[in-house]
Each structure stands twice: as C-alpha cells, then as structure tokens.
Amino acid sequence: MMHTLNPTAEPATDTDDVARLVRADGTRVADAELDRWVEDVDHEMLRGLYRDMALVRRIDAEGVALQRQGQLGLWAPCRGQEATQIGTARALRPEDFVFPSYRELGVGFVRGAQPSDVVLAWRGEVHSTYDHRRMRTAPPQIIIGAQTLHAVGYAMGVQRDGADEIAVTYFGDGATSQGDVNEAMVFASSFGAPVVFVCSNNQWAISEPVTVQSRFPIAGRAPGFGVPSMRVDGNDVLACLGAMRWAADHARSGRGPAFLEAVTYRMGPHTTSDDPTRYRSAEEEERWARRDPLERLEALLRHEHAWDEDFASAVAGEADAWAAAVRDATLGAVSREPLTVFDDVYAEPHAGLAAQRDRYAAYLDGFSDEEATR
C-alpha cells in the first residue's frame, strides 16, 4: 500500500506548475478549478485590485525609504508579493479573522490598517498596532509559524460559537519547516476547523532557497494531513482571489481546513538589514521582475481596455497621499512615557511589578532632580 502524491512530486522549483488565470504577459487563461470562482470579477473589481496592489507597493517603498532615513528601525518589504496578499485578503469577509506574519503589509492594508498602524512597530514605538477588534486581524507574528496554531484555535472557537466565520493564517515557505505549522494542520484536520492556511512561498527564507525546506511543492504537504490544497500563481491576483474563494468556501461550509501555496517572489531583501546579493543572482531577480504582479494586472487591464491614464494617475495620487500619511505618522510619532514599560504586563494588579514601578519612578524623579541641579 504505497502512498504517493498526485500530481507526483515535482521539484519545488517548478514555479509554473501552478493554477493560473492570467499569464505573465497579461493574457487570460482558463483554469478548470478556478474559473467558477472569479466569474463575477468585472473590470471595476480588477481595477480595485490593482489600486490595492499599487497602494501597497507605494507604502512599502515609503517604508524602505523611511528606514533608510533612520526613521524606522527595520522594514520587511513585501514588494513582489502584492498579488498574493491582496488577492487572498480581498476574498475574505470583514468578520473573518486573520493571523498574519510580519511581511503581510498588503493583508493589513485590506483589513483596515491605518497609516500609523503600518509603521509604529517598525519604528520601535510599540510592539504592535493593529486593533484586533476593529481589523479582526492579529498583530503580525515574528516567531515563525506560531500564529498558525492561533488561527486553528480561533477557528475551533468559531465552531463552538456556531458562527459563519473563518480564520485565516499567513506564513512563509520557511515556516513550513516549523513544528508549529505542522501541528496546526494536525489540529485543524482533527477538529475539522474552519481555517485557511496561506503559505506565501516567496522562494526564500532569508538566504535559504525554498529547496532547503522542501524539495517538493509545499502544497503537497497538506493532503497528507487530510487538508485539501491548491498551488496557485502568487503573482496572479485573479488566481489568488479565486483560490482563496475556493479555500474560504471550503472552510466556511463546514468541510474543514484548506491550504494554499501561493508561488511568488520576494523582490526585495528579507529586511532592510539584508543583502540578497550575497545569496542570489541578478539573473534570478530579473526573471522574476518579468513576472511582476502589478505589471501583469496592468497588462490584463490594457488587453481588456480597462486601463486608462486617468485611472493610473488617480491611483498614483491616492498612493502618494497614503505614503505621505505614513510618513507623517512616522515623523509625528511621539514616544511613550518611560513608565509605560510597566503597563499591560498584567491585566490585573501585580504586587511585585507595582513595587518595581514605584522604585523606578522614584529613580527617574531623583535623576531629573539631579539633572536640574547640575
């Protein structure tokens, strides 16, 4: 009784072995599985997706610039992954709940992040900004893979509440090696939890190519856990939308978890501290530049005569305004008072910490007296 995978395990690096609706040149292609999920997508919706992606790209560029100017401590660019993030996030309902990683700027944007929300944590003012009640999105997770279990638990809660909601979690190709991500699939499958796993396979985990994590396509992992999966072109926003609609519907309709592998590319460095020239070739970067998700959607819109300069300049204007707001939120940030380091460690009073706070307050007081008299 041999078990094999169907389609049989191809090398993980065959990035064209994906479900796709729009080719790199912007022409539309049929896909038996995806077509029915995007039947209603008209030009207006496509333009909406383009606008989202363009804004996210602009905000991302602003983040990089602000970091270069010393205004942010770090930035993890999402350039190249806009289609994955926007396509999947736009398939959700507001009441669904999202558990993202640190690179999901586009997801946060769709979920309603405000300008200050996207920079204050990178600036080191606070650890996180998202109001999870309003955005129904957890703070971006830094511990690789940890959030996937949170999503499954949340989905188990949805089941218990009998609600018509799903949980969604985003993580990278590197994350698939972590025990937590695998345990998340075990729990999700065991309880039939309404959760969608979205793996943004951007080909790299810092300097390690995806083949260090998996020699075979990541989407192939899920079926063994009893979780149906789809491997989708992560630079094709329409395919991402369709695939996520399939996955969300699967989870929402009580059929349990679903898994997407979005095959995309991290066009920038891992973070602003990283130097990708140490580990990947310019040739590879160029190859992926030709699969740029924004250019692809622009080409589709042009083919379909749904692109015009008014639209382009309206989007550019909106993007610049958003970026300016991000810049303002950064430059206008006011650091919290020293004693706030003691706030919110506990939700209820804590004698030991209260004493430490008092001592540190006295210390700061004494110190400023001293300053004053010097």
Binding site: S128, P139, A167, A184, F187, V345, H350, A351, G352
Partner: protein
C-alpha cells in the same frame, strides 16, 4: 465542609468554573474519555460535552497554541499538561505568546489561560515524570505562577486562576493528589482572599520556613519534630510563586531573623534564590544568620530508587534549621567550602 482529596477538589474546581462561565474550556491529552491520567477531569466530558472538554492531539505546543487562539476568540481555556516534564514542547508558545500577548498589544488582547501541571516528584515515577520546572515560569514576566499544597486552596485557587484575566501556570503536586482535607465548596470567588497571598501554615518563633507545594507538608512535619527539640518553626506556604507575597514573608522574617527555604527543584537560579535574595533585600538588618536553601540538587531528576536522596526531606530541613540557629549540623554549609580557600581564590585573570 467536606473531606476530599486534592484531586477531587481540583475536579470540583474545574466543574464549578465550567458551570459558572460558559467561555471556560478544558483541553489536553486524555482529559476527556479517560478523565485524565490522574482522573482530575473525570466526568467532565460526559457533563459538559466535547465542545467544552476537548481531547487534543498529542502535541503540547499545539495545545497551548490553539488555546491562545481560543483566548483571542474570548474563551478561557484551561489546559492540562499531562506531566511536568512534558511542558517544554509548549515553552515557546508559553513564553513568546501566552506571556507576552497582553503586553504586545498594549492590553488589547487578554490571555486568561490556565495551564495546569501535575507536578514534581516523590512518587516513584519514570524519567520526565517528576520535574519541577516552576522557576522557568517564575522568571517569565507576564505569567502568574501558583503552587498549591492542600485541597481547599486547590479548589479555590484553581477557580481564581481560571477567573483571572492573566495567564496562570498552576502547579499541582502529584504526591499530594490523594491527601485529604476539608473543602468548603460554597465559597464565592468574591469572598476569597486574593490569589497572590501566602498562607501562614503554622505559627512559630525561632525560624521561618518558606515552602510551597508538597514541601509544605514536609516543612510542617519538620516543625512537629523541631518542637520536640524545643525549636519553634513558623511555616509559610508561599502558594503564589509569582508574585510572592513578601509582606507576609518579611513580617515573619523580621520576627524570627532566621530563614530556611525549601523546594524540590534544583537550587541554582531557582525560586529559593529569588526568595532568599528578596528576603535579604527587605530584611537584611533583621537577619541573624544567612538564609538557607534546602532544595533538590542541581542534577537531572534521579532514578526513582534514588529520589529520596534528591527531594528534601524533614531531616534535611532540620539540619538547615540547626545551621541557621548556629547549632552543629551534619551538612557544614559553605563555611567549610574548600573552594573558597583554594590557591586560585581571587585570582585576577586579566
């Protein structure tokens, strides 16, 4: 008042919490159909159903991680870790998520998890089944740590832990599971003393003995033995290991001037070190002798047949009492420490 074992009292605590608050969920390995390997959750699945009492897959990180997700959704998960030695796979989720999410989100996300851990040794168990990992959690900001020693506390403090909006790591000494005591099942949460307070388990004049968990019983036994020799021990059951109730501790130490602290865990960077240091900070002028730690050795938990040479017993406590009283003791303490008089002492390397 009803006589019952600590195990039964804990079961009542869970049942009461499940009844009082329908957001409470109990989860863990074998806690449903089996009622847990210690039968603490016996009957809960039948009574509350699989929506509230969840037999989970065998993965501790998964258990705690999904409990975090349930807390995001407004539930109050009570997690059972089957044995002390199996909490480590969940350590990352506990330290980086459970302990930090409230802080990370400036108080927006609450983590009212209770992590129950059948705990510590003295029961002749196999490797990994007798561990005392409490110091790891005491050292982790954002967690509260409780260790109970008698049925009434087990019942009430478990309810308090579950009702608390902060995450609580709740240690249940296995070696006392079958010990009986009076329990008043009708106490209102509102009437109970706060969860953070220590308990003076026995009044005494000469030496303050600080203990928690099963060592409280050992300390009380030592107090009885000491009394026969005319020495009066005050025994304080810390109960809350984070925070420690230093009001109660310091008041006692200022009276006795002598301190012995005992626990099963190894001493090195253990809870005893924390307690001694804090006592010294608060009571230095009152101390007649250096506080003594009577702890497990700094060794992995030994094989069962040798555990009596690791878990501190009554005699080791009494020996330390002798030391703090300046009386001859078998263990000379550090005065005879050969290391200190070694030729290398105080050598400047560079």
């Amino acid at each position: 008042m009803t006589q019952m074992t600590m195990g039964t009292a804990l079961g009542h605590g869970l049942r009461r919490a499940l009844t009082d608050d329908d957001r409470v969920i109990v989860m863990g390995e074998d806690i449903g159909r089996l009622g847990g390997v210690f039968r603490i959750t016996d009957g809960l699945l039948a009574e509350f159903g699989s929506g509230r009492v969840i037999d989970t897959p065998l993965a501790e990180s998964g258990i705690v991680g999904t409990a975090v997700g349930l807390a995001y959704r407004g539930f109050r998960p009570v997690v059972e870790i089957q044995f002390d030695g199996f909490v480590y796979p969940a350590f990352d989720q506990i330290v980086c998520q459970v302990a930090k999410l409230h802080y990370r989100t400036q108080g927006r996300v609450r983590m009212p998890l209770t992590i129950r851990i059948p705990w510590a040794g003295g029961v002749g168990a196999a490797e990994h089944h007798s561990e005392s990992p409490e110091a790891y959690f005491v050292h982790t900001a954002g967690l509260r740590v409780i260790a109970v020693s008698q049925p009434q506390d087990a019942y009430m403090m478990l309810r308090q832990a579950i009702a608390c909006d902060d995450p609580v790591v709740f240690f249940e000494p296995k070696r006392l599971y079958h010990r009986k005591g009076d329990v008043d099942l009708d106490v209102d949460l509102a009437d109970a003393p706060p969860m953070g307070l220590a308990r003076v388990a026995r009044r005494g004049e000469d030496v303050t003995v600080l203990a928690y968990g099963a060592q409280v019983q050992t300390a009380l036994d030592a107090a009885v033995a000491a009394e026969e020799e005319g020495v009066s021990l005050e025994v304080i059951d810390l109960r809350s290991l984070s925070p420690v109730d230093y009001r109660t501790v310091a008041a006692s130490v200022r009276r006795t001037g002598r301190v012995v602290v005992t626990h099963e865990a190894g001493g090195e960077a253990g809870v005893g070190s924390e307690v001694v240091t804090s006592v010294v900070e608060r009571c230095f002028a009152y101390l007649e002798a250096p506080p003594e730690r009577v702890t497990g050795h700094d060794i992995p938990y030994p094989p069962a047949k040798l555990e009596k040479h690791h878990v501190p017993d009554l005699d080791r406590i009494l020996d330390a009492v002798d030391r703090v009283l300046g009386r001859p003791a078998s263990d000379p303490g550090f005065e005879g420490d050969a290391m200190l008089s070694s030729p290398h002492a105080g050598e400047v390397i560079r």
